[in-house]
Symmetry: C2
Subunit: 506 residues, 2 copies
């Protein structure tokens, strides 16, 4: 190649797998809401009935086996449920809910339990209803790319399945090896392909949902267009299991692209990162499928703490941008990407760049990006995770502000994110518990974000963590209507209680 900067990087081929790790760390103090006194206590009679519904295969009761279901991924939130039900059909889910509705027994719906806002674990002793056994692909239409599957299908399996049929699943995220499509839908997951394929509200054609009273709402559809009445599925997408339990979905997948390229760019200022984004959308245009951002601190943390993660550059840069293109013509795509990189290089927008030459190198670049959450998890006992939408002009200012603000504390302030969608993942980790540190961080991060026109949750949801900050991002009138919808769909309040809406605290 004539372009001197196009470096060949030799790597081993390794696939990244999201490791479900429960760390033996002390809990950061958090307030717990008051327990809802109207709920019943699970009796032995209830347990017998529920066990009959799901058969022995669908029950977890042993203390140790319950632990991973009761604990969230970062080990921050822990519930105390004594039973996990794993139904294997919509009918079983329906029977469980009908019973719990009548008996006033609260339920936490759970997918892969990879959420980061404490939404998928109990607060007290709610029954855990894990959808993992409902993992069948019900239908796939090879002409339209529409897949209908159950809620418990693991995202990576679903993605591989549609890929084998010549299609691309429109959602991809680091937790793909564990998270389930039902949980993705319930939390309106975003991820790295959002930039190209948009939100699940755009790609989901229909849902099957079991309501709190056990009735099955069949809204499955295999039609791209259907304007008959209100578009109910959207109510459940992103409602975090508080309005109904998603048991199946039909999703429209775009055609798989024949040609995929991945590049990593080293950049010396944040202004250049934003200029790169604008220019990349212009030059690479319709084939741009990811534009991901990492700062130096994040990259250094990952390469230091995780042996399988490598930085392909020999020197380090203040910022890194991972670009992916996906198109139908290898030659055209490469020409566009090279032209763009050439422009960047000649305009001094980038300090260095590597272009993956094979699948192994692509994996290496994506592994670097996707290992960030795990790296942070290992970097300290106390972790503060923020998933913010921030307008581009203010995107990185918060990170530098937090570094100044916390300069006296021994902690890591690292960031990465889907900058193409203005989605920043700010992470702060510390080895020592320190109340004054906590107070410097929260609610400042949320206040700063809202005062700069952002959102306190771009893609992770509200769960338990952010419920008290919800009014910062939503109009009070809108919150009132959300509560009315909750009351309408779940009048007894058994579905994922204590989540989204703030509660009176103990």
């Amino acid at each position: 190649m004539a372009l001197g900067w196009k470096r060949l990087v030799k790597t081993n081929n390794f696939g990244y797998h999201f490791v479900h790790q429960f760390r033996a760390v002390s809990q950061i103090s958090y307030t717990r809401p008051s327990k809802n006194a109207s709920f019943s206590k699970l009796s032995s009679e209830d347990i017998s009935y529920l066990k009959r519904v799901v058969t022995p295969r669908g029950v977890v009761e042993e203390k140790e086996a319950l632990e991973p279901f009761n604990t969230d991924w970062i080990g921050k939130y822990k519930g105390n449920s004594s039973i996990v039900l794993k139904p294997s059909s919509t009918d079983q889910v329906s029977k469980i809910l009908q019973y719990c509705y009548e008996k006033k027994l609260p339920i936490v719906p759970q997918g892969g339990n990879t959420g980061l806002v404490g939404g998928s674990v109990p607060v007290f002793d709610e029954i855990i209803l894990n959808l993992g056994n409902m993992n069948r692909i019900r239908d796939f239409d090879n002409k339209s790319g529409i897949v209908t599957c159950e809620a418990g299908v693991v995202l990576e399996s679903l993605s591989n399945f549609v890929s084998e049929q010549g299609y691309t699943f429109p959602l991809d995220l680091g937790a793909k090896g564990s998270c389930q499509i039902g949980g993705n839908l319930a939390t309106n997951a975003g991820g790295t392909r959002f930039l190209r394929y948009g939100s699940l509200h755009g790609s989901t054609l229909g849902l099957e949902v079991v309501l709190s009273n056990g009735k099955v709402l069949n809204m499955l559809s295999s039609l791209r267009k259907d304007n008959t009445g209100y578009h109910l599925p959207h109510l459940f997408i992103g409602s975090e299991g508080t309005l109904g339990i998603i048991t199946a979905a039909s999703i429209c997948c775009p055609k798989k692209c024949r040609s995929v390229h991945t590049a990593l760019l080293g950049v010396d200022s944040f202004d250049k990162v934003t200029e790169l984004l604008v220019r990349c959308k212009d030059e690479v245009g319709e084939i741009l499928s990811a534009f991901e951002f990492m700062d130096r601190n994040a990259v250094e943390l990952a390469t230091k703490l995780l042996s399988h993660v490598r930085d392909p550059f020999s020197e380090s840069f203040p910022f890194y941008v991972l670009i992916e293109t996906s198109g139908s013509n290898e030659h055209h795509d490469m020409e566009k990407l090279e032209k763009f990189l050439e422009y960047c290089y000649s305009g001094d927008l980038i300090s260095d760049a590597v272009l993956a030459q094979d699948q192994s190198q692509m994996n290496q670049l994506w592994t670097l990006r996707e290992s960030m959450p795990e790296a942070v998890n290992r970097s300290g006992k106390h972790i503060f995770k923020y998933d913010l939408s921030i307008p581009l002009e203010h995107f990185y200012t918060l990170v530098t502000e937090m570094r100044s603000r916390l300069v006296e504390y021994p902690c890591h302030v690292v960031s990465w994110g889907h900058i193409g969608d203005c989605n920043l993942h700010l992470n702060i980790s510390s080895s020592e518990s320190n109340e004054s540190l906590s107070k410097l961080i929260e609610p400042y991060v949320y206040e700063w974000t809202c005062s700069h026109g952002g959102s306190i949750s771009a893609e992770h949801g509200v769960g338990r963590v952010k419920s008290k900050y919800l009014p910062m991002s939503k109009d009070m009138e809108a919150i009132e209507w959300m509560k009315q919808l909750k009351q309408l769909f779940d009048p007894v309040g058994i579905l994922n209680p204590y989540k989204i809406f703030s509660q009176r605290e103990e």
Copy 2:
């Protein structure tokens, strides 16, 4: 050019404008629901108050001037309202609704009144609330392409505005010269760009809605990602003005493509049309921005009845496909399109093809496609319009079946549609009113569609026309929940009464 089939077609440059025509035709008989006895009759006191709210500029009362607001575009549905209110601000809409809510005065929200299901005109004497004076663009972010505008902005104006800023509005349809974005959102309009940019559920970031009691629900957002609580705007998108009145919206627009190409293909069998679609998605891939279908009968009707419409071919074909590509690189796009056309030609998939050489020729091809509704309108006094989603394998069978079924009647059976999204527009026109003809058409068309896995409304909505057929396309449990939502958001039932849900008939 080496390719023999690439024909140059000389045309004049003319832009197509959707002509708002009210035809002096006799009405096809239709049943009318019973009037809701709980509504009040508009008094002179009411009129005085409402006139003060909107100022004299915002009132229409003269009989002749009321006519176009009372009559739907195809002249089939006529209301008898004595007043049209044209508020110029959200505050005025709020005051009107607060008053009407208290006084139990029913309201029909109306945009450009280009709907085809009788949804935007009164059934009796409901007040017409036309949003046409709320036509300001409130904000445009040049970095993200997010536009925030009021409901009454005409789609074409909005499209031109964002185009001048270097972006593409994600929605386009034949009625663009008259229809308004508020109406588009209220009906979840589809159109020709759906194939590329998806539905309004995907591109709409936020809405401002006035509820039936006059309260303003501010859900406007300029963030691509925001997972804080339930995603309420989706409830109003496609609810046809029955849950609230959309007064403003923020919509995300993709970057404008530098290179746009349009081709028209003549095809000799429907099987080849479907093969073309599959192949086109493969070959033209990410730059495909429209794949539209017309049958010979439709094209012949348009060229015969409309002097400004021309068929570029010298001979006629059973089927026509209009393809548009939009990409970032002129050279790449043309290469892809030419390769595809060459493949089609050599594989005998197409009988003839023209590729527009300039804007004037592009306009000619799009005019042919977009003039279809007007041509049908002129072809007979009695028109039956169907907007169906039908799986590809059955897509055209209904049209041929209807021709056989109606062979003894002097009528036109023509079809076109967004075949890339499996959306068929079947139209039947007759010069004479004939009850036995009507009975042969309905409910057969709907029954056939549903028995073949389709939907009775792909993009036009339910309105008044299809309310009694709603249970054919939606589960009864889902319809019950829609009714509960209607009851929750509009307990007095003043918003667009007698629409979507079937009523007791007179």
